[in-house]
């Protein structure tokens, strides 16, 4: 009995150490921006209420106006130097308040004077500027979005030591440089253009709140600022390596289903050549000039209908909630890789003139047909930027949708996170429906799967860039 307990304990310790190692390796927890004045602290999940929060704790969970004001006071109104100096001032006050015979009160008085002047600066030097900003709406994960901002000084007094910063950034996005861009001293009517970066390490659709111009003149302890709300949504597309070559199995169907859908400019017929008139040919196709030149038998123009290969891409988003912590962390990492891979497949298909149908469920069902002139790669990537992990089996939602469209699909590429009975049955159903199926299986460690048309992509292969699939 004792041995069994010991064994359990050792297992548990081993599991805990493994989990800790994995967490260290794949730490992607949301950063807690304690004193980052460019971030919006209240977007952190710590401030979202649990499902059954007691009413009296709503103040804690919800960013009430008071908590927002206090946070702004400590982070936005006080500079970094101001916060440190506030601690020092408090220490001086604490010791100095015991008695005015102790000379600590003298430096405290000067420190208090500095605070008084800082407060005066806040009242006097609030920036009086106007601002316009331009930046792209889309960026790829891991890249820095460059924003062009134009600031014009309007006030009668010159704006001294102005600083431009993004305001209330999502927690995943970092300002570059982190303290903003110094604008310096601006006289009335003067305009300065600044370039400021937003580093976007993770995919997603992020709300951007706007901008802030601040000055900590004259003491460097407190800031006077003016905010410029300019709300927009920034799509951070998943980062992916371009696929150079991919074998897509072709199903038995080769249907012309895409023509009517493909273009808004009418029929898309390809000219093959001229030939003599045959019974049943459309009279409108007679080439009168050729007929006149040759004399006699009417000559008609021959057209060939353009066919499309329509490929479905199924993204597996299933991350079971009851997984152990270490496996769950790995599963999330695999999911992010799957999203990147799906983006790469979509990109490849779009370049090969395929029509692409993206199927993903998490938490909503996403289905988008793209390619040719129907939709662009951007729309595919927008969906992939927004898709999230699903705690329930997503194929139960995706399967009816894809089977309903299966008649139109030539092939289906499945990006899976595991290869269990559910997924095997799903693939079998697709094959029975006549579509060629290619399975891309994401795994952490190298694994061999004895099934045809399953391409295993482990950690090393993914990191080296899976260019040929």
């Amino acid at each position: 009995m004792a041995d069994i307990r010991t064994g359990n304990l050792i297992d548990q310790i081993g599991a805990a150490m493994r989990a800790a190692r994995i967490r260290r390796e794949y730490d992607d927890r949301l950063p807690f921006p304690a004193f980052d004045s460019t971030k919006d602290l209240f977007q952190h999940p710590a401030f979202s209420p649990p499902k059954k929060a007691p009413r009296r704790l709503y103040f804690v969970y919800y960013p009430s106006p008071l908590s927002r004001m206090l946070w702004r006071l400590s982070v936005v109104r006080f500079t970094r130097a101001g916060r440190w100096f506030a601690l020092l001032t408090f220490a001086l006050f604490f010791i100095g308040s015991f008695s005015i015979e102790i000379q600590v009160y003298v430096p405290f008085l000067y420190a208090a004077a500095l605070w008084g002047v800082a407060f005066l600066g806040v009242l006097l030097f609030r920036p009086r500027v106007t601002l316009t900003a331009r930046h792209p709406d889309r960026v790829r994960a891991g890249e820095t979005l460059v924003c062009e901002v134009s600031v014009t000084q309007n006030g009668h007094l010159p704006g001294l030591d102005l600083q431009l910063l993004p305001a209330r950034l999502p927690l995943r996005i970092d300002a570059v440089p982190p303290d903003g861009v110094p604008l310096g001293t601006m006289r009335r009517g003067e305009t300065r253009r600044a370039r400021l970066g937003l580093f976007c390490p993770r995919r997603g659709a992020y709300p951007l709140w706007g901008w802030r111009v601040e000055t900590d003149f004259p003491t460097g302890l407190m800031t006077a600022y003016r905010s410029f709300p300019q709300s927009s949504t920034l799509f951070v597309h998943p980062n992916f390596t371009t696929i150079r070559q991919m074998e897509v199995p072709i199903g038995r169907r080769h249907q012309p289903g895409g023509v009517a859908l493909a273009s808004k400019i009418g029929e898309s017929m390809e000219y093959l050549g001229n030939r003599e008139f045959r019974e049943g040919d459309n009279v409108r196709d007679i080439d009168w000039r050729a007929t006149a030149r040759l004399g006699g038998t009417p000559i008609v123009r021959e057209w060939r209908e353009e066919y499309f290969q329509r490929v479905g891409v199924v993204l597996d988003t299933f991350v079971p909630p009851d997984l152990p912590v270490d496996r769950k962390v790995i599963r999330r990492v695999l999911f992010e890789r799957a999203v990147s891979l799906a983006a790469a497949v979509g990109d490849y298909m779009a370049r090969q003139d395929y029509l692409v149908d993206i199927f993903a469920a998490g938490p909503n069902l996403y289905h988008l047909t793209a390619g040719r002139s129907l939709a662009y790669l951007e729309q595919i990537l927008d969906i992939l930027a927004c898709v999230e992990e699903s705690e329930t089996e997503p194929l139960s939602v995706v399967e009816p949708q894809i089977l309903g469209n299966l008649e139109q699909l030539t092939s289906v590429v499945c990006v899976f996170l595991e290869w269990d009975e559910v997924r095997q049955a799903f693939v079998e159903n697709l094959r029975r429906g006549g579509a060629g199926v290619k399975v891309l299986l994401l795994v952490e460690e190298p694994t061999t799967v004895a099934t045809r048309d399953v391409t295993v992509i482990d950690r090393d292969l993914f990191r080296s860039g899976a260019e040929v699939l």
Partner: protein, 680 residues
């Protein structure tokens, strides 16, 4: 990740600032703040070997390019090493000085640890230079705090603003900026403002030291503010002189005579470092006028002085030992406890005046020197329980050879003054503080409470009845025949009963510790403020002396004058508004001349323009009259006049006062002037 930059010429300067920040060189303002803090430590704590070394290391960091690199634990080893060195070197330093919290050694060690941290940050190459800089700033601030943890006020008032000047500049370096002359000038202006505000605050606190202490004591729930006003209810022998106060004026004496020791309270029992009875534990009874102003006093030997109680909430009346008579100028209730050394208290609130008659004889035994009764003698000779016999032996040794009580008193005074020096701070350590003071070798400096208590106890040991007295030492002249007593003049001494003489003052505090020796004269600005206060007080007293009718008359005059002034202001404003809203500006000079000439033409013809009619209407009437033949007016004249009026009005009210119009007007006037005036 690339760092975007702003697109104007100063970007190069920003990059330069960033490069310098990464190079690991501490901004000079931060280093200067640290050096000032180190200087403060040296000035307040005396010579120590490490602060100069630290200062040199800070300066050397600007010469050398070598830096502490790498892992955090390397720096921790350096830190630990420096702390060990600091502790070892400070063991040899004396553990005394005027410090408020903790022992001198602990304070010095802590201060040097902060200084060491400052040096480490100067020599560190950090991936986060701003953070390193802020740590250095806080370390320098804590070093300044430790250095200012002292009662010694000679240096801090000069070094604190200097430190804050550099710190104010250093705090502005926490992020890269674009250089701008305007911003630099503005910062300098605001830094000067900061120092000005800080200095004003310092002067305010210094000037109102007594009031602030009093307020603090009130907040702490003191029954009476004895500590604030210089008198402790139960004086205790502590580390610091509890009676020391600020420069707030307490008493103003006109015609000061007699002993400068103005008594407040006397105490007879000493236990565990504290004197009893407390202020509240005495048996007070109402003091009648006959008791305080006895008729059997020889008036010829009495000189009267007037004492103005200026501030403080203490109900005590202060007077010298030789007081023969005492009376409030405005009668109020008074109590006293003659058996307890005669504290006299009153319910009158300052400011108020009282008159004290003082005998010219130094040994005069008056109101406050009741003859010693037999039962009182025991009380005044009482020694604390378990009193250290070494003190008795010491007293006997000191007074060896002294035959009379007076000789014993002289011997004790001579011993204390000759063997001890004065300090505001005395660390009694464990055990009975007075015994520690008298038996410590080498002899340690102390403040007046120790000398007063020591003289009292030593004399009791050799059979001389004594009591411990607190009060003020009057010494500061303030104009002819005026003496001012300030809070800082609070003092403690003892009184001894000498057979055949009576109670005499025993001043055993060394000369350099008496209030008249260790104080600098008040500054000119303080005197100016005091004069202003006096002026306001005189004015307030003048107002208080007015009758109700006089006050009503003054109020009526002020209200009447104010009403008249307000009414005139209102009218002027109303007229100004009316003019601004409706009136036209006066005509331009040339137009005014022309219209005068125009009116003169018709006036000469007996057809002057009436003030009630516009020009045009008058001209129309003239035309009608011409038609009927009433008055002769030629058509050409009228025509010229109409054209003149039209042009004049356009110029006057329609902004058409250009040069051709003026010329035309001139021509028209001249044409009209040439028209022959009809004969009457």
């Amino acid at each position: 990740m690339t760092v975007p930059s702003i697109s104007h010429p100063n970007v190069a300067e920003t990059r330069e600032a960033l490069r310098r920040a990464d190079s690991g060189i501490m901004p000079w303002t931060v280093a200067a703040a640290g050096l000032v803090a180190l200087l403060t430590l040296t000035m307040t704590a005396g010579w120590m070997p490490l602060p100069p070394v630290f200062a040199l290391l800070i300066l050397a960091s600007y010469v050398s390019t070598a830096r502490l690199e790498g892992q955090t634990f390397h720096r921790w080893w350096v830190r630990l090493g420096l702390i060990v060195i600091i502790i070892v070197l400070n063991q040899a330093q004396p553990n005394n000085g005027d410090f408020a919290f903790g022992s001198a050694r602990a304070r010095n060690i802590l201060a040097q640890v902060y200084a060491a941290e400052f040096v480490i940050q100067c020599w560190r190459r950090s991936g986060q230079p701003v953070r390193s800089r802020l740590i250095a700033i806080v370390a320098s601030g804590l070093l300044m705090l430790s250095s200012a943890n002292t009662f010694d006020e000679r240096f801090i008032k000069y070094l604190a603003p200097l430190y804050m000047l550099f710190l104010g500049m250093a705090l502005y370096t926490h992020r890269p900026r674009l250089l701008s002359r305007m911003a630099v000038v503005g910062r300098v202006v605001f830094l000067v403002l900061t120092l000005g505000v800080g200095a004003t605050g310092y002067l305010f606190v210094d000037f109102n030291r007594g009031r602030i202490t009093e307020l603090g004591n009130r907040l702490l729930g003191e029954r009476f503010n004895f500590e604030a006003t210089g008198m402790a209810s139960n004086p205790s022998l502590g580390e610091t002189f509890g009676l020391r106060g600020g420069t707030q004026r307490v008493l103003r004496i006109t015609g000061f005579v007699g002993d400068p020791h103005l008594r407040g309270m006397a105490f007879d029992r000493y236990e565990q470092g504290r004197w009893y009875p407390s202020f509240a534990d005495r048996r007070y009874r109402p003091a009648t006028e006959r008791e305080l102003n006895p008729s059997n006093v020889a008036r010829a030997t009495i000189t009267e002085m007037t004492i103005e109680k200026m501030g403080g909430d203490t109900p005590l009346l202060f007077a010298p030992l030789q007081t023969a008579t005492l009376a409030l100028i405005e009668p109020a209730e008074m109590d006293w406890a003659p058996e307890s050394g005669g504290p006299i208290r009153t319910r009158a609130r300052p400011p108020f005046d009282y008159r004290v008659g003082v005998s010219s004889s130094e040994t005069y035994q008056g109101l406050l020197a009741n003859p010693l009764k037999a039962e009182e003698r025991t009380r005044y000779l009482q020694l604390p329980s378990r009193f250290d016999p070494r003190v008795t032996e010491l007293a006997k040794r000191i007074t060896k050879g002294a035959g009379t009580d007076a000789e014993k008193v002289e011997a004790v005074i001579g011993y204390l003054i000759g063997n001890y020096s004065y300090s505001l701070r005395f660390r009694p350590g464990r055990g009975e503080p007075l015994v520690n003071f008298l038996t410590a070798e080498p002899k340690r400096p102390a403040h007046c409470e120790y000398f007063a208590a020591a003289s009292a106890m030593l004399l009791r040991c050799v059979g001389v009845p004594t009591r411990y007295v607190t009060g003020y030492f009057a010494h500061e002249g303030d104009g002819p025949n005026i003496t001012v007593v300030r809070q800082r003049d609070a003092h403690a001494w003892s009184e001894a009963w000498i057979a055949g003489v009576g109670w005499v003052t025993v001043e055993a505090t060394p000369g350099d510790g008496r209030p008249d020796a260790d104080q600098s004269p008040p500054e000119w600005w303080r005197r100016l403020l005091e004069r202003t206060q006096d002026g306001l007080q005189i004015f307030a007293e003048f107002l208080a002396g007015l009758s109700a009718e006089q006050v009503a008359a003054i109020v009526a005059v002020i209200l009447g004058a104010g009403g008249i002034y307000g009414f005139r202001l209102y009218r002027r404003r109303k007229m100004a508004l009316a003019l601004a809203s409706f009136a036209y500006a006066p005509p331009e000079r040339r137009l005014a001349e022309l219209i005068v000439r125009f009116e003169a033409v018709f006036a000469r013809r007996g057809q002057a323009f009436p003030p009630s009619l516009p020009y045009r209407e008058h001209l129309d009437r003239l035309a009608d009259d011409a038609g009927t033949g009433k008055r002769p007016a030629t058509a050409s004249l009228l025509d010229a006049a109409r054209r003149f009026v039209a042009l004049y009005e356009a110029s006057r009210f329609g902004n058409r006062g250009d040069e051709p119009t003026i010329r035309t007007l001139q021509e028209l006037v001249e044409e009209m002037e040439r028209t022959k005036t009809p004969d009457r």
